[in-house]
Symmetry: C2
Subunit: 166 residues, 2 copies
């Protein structure tokens, strides 16, 4: 698989982040597949819990394109985890509501997700774990250097990736 030493990959920040993202994603996909959902499905489902949001609003908070949202909702609805109800105030819009089963799945998924995170971060001593998370937030969050993708220059096609946040 990978033949480089820890010392070599330590100097390769792209590799560290890519690999962490990639393997954790695979792990999460596998773990949630037992519930018949994807990380994205969970993301949408959990954000729909209040039951007040239209499909479009939900797409916005989940950072999804509205067309991607349609596909995601189709799956969730077919799986019986969410329903599209007509909005009482706007006949174009549709309110998304989770079903009872959907709420149960969200709960179970939350447990699974927390378990995976604990399993992964559990290998680090408490102090190092907190420092690492603080550091990641400093890089990715607030006004960190990895907060916003700088627009690619002319001719460079931007990588399209979905929000896989969980």
């Amino acid at each position: 698989m990978d033949n480089r030493s820890d010392a070599e990959i330590r100097a390769d920040l792209s590799y560290l982040f890519d690999k962490a993202s990639q393997v954790l994603t695979a792990r999460m996909n596998a773990a949630l597949a037992e519930l018949g959902i994807t990380p994205r499905g969970y993301c949408v489902l959990s954000k729909a819990l209040p039951g007040e949001l239209t499909q479009g609003e939900l797409a916005e908070v989940a950072l999804l394109d509205k067309t991607t949202m349609v596909v995601t909702m189709d799956h969730l609805e077919k799986a019986g985890l969410a329903r599209r109800h007509p909005s009482p105030t706007d006949r174009r819009a549709r309110i998304v509501q989770t079903t009872d089963e959907g709420r149960r799945v969200v709960e179970k998924a939350r447990t699974i997700i927390d378990g995976v995170y604990a399993e992964v971060l559990g290998v680090l001593p408490d102090e190092q774990r907190e420092t690492l998370l603080d550091g990641m937030v400093a890089l990715v969050g607030g006004d960190g250097p990895l907060r916003v993708a700088k627009p690619a220059p002319e001719g460079v096609r931007r990588t399209r990736r979905s929000s896989r946040s969980v």
Copy 2:
């Protein structure tokens, strides 16, 4: 873009890694585009520097599918950065050699890459930076919990992602 607080994203490990990977990749794509190469192009080119590897061997160390390697080499060759020479010992195989221009580009790219890494990690105090890198290596490298993607269960399609290591 993202509307969650630092406290919220701190609890979302998937988001932290995905975003870090994604934004750093975009940054790297943009930075290397000035040299007319991609991170993958750099990866292949730098590993070809010794000039002894066949295309297949190079694909293996760069963690690329052989068909992806063909496309990558087509680009590098067209850009005048690498050449395919017939192997003296195996008439099926082709040895990859970097051109003089290729070597210059690798050098410049290395400087750019180091600059981006320094820019990103520079926001962290020395000690925290070292702790974070150690932690990432503990997760991703050696026998860390994110070293190998657990095979996805039946029916779950694995995400296909290329090595973007730099």
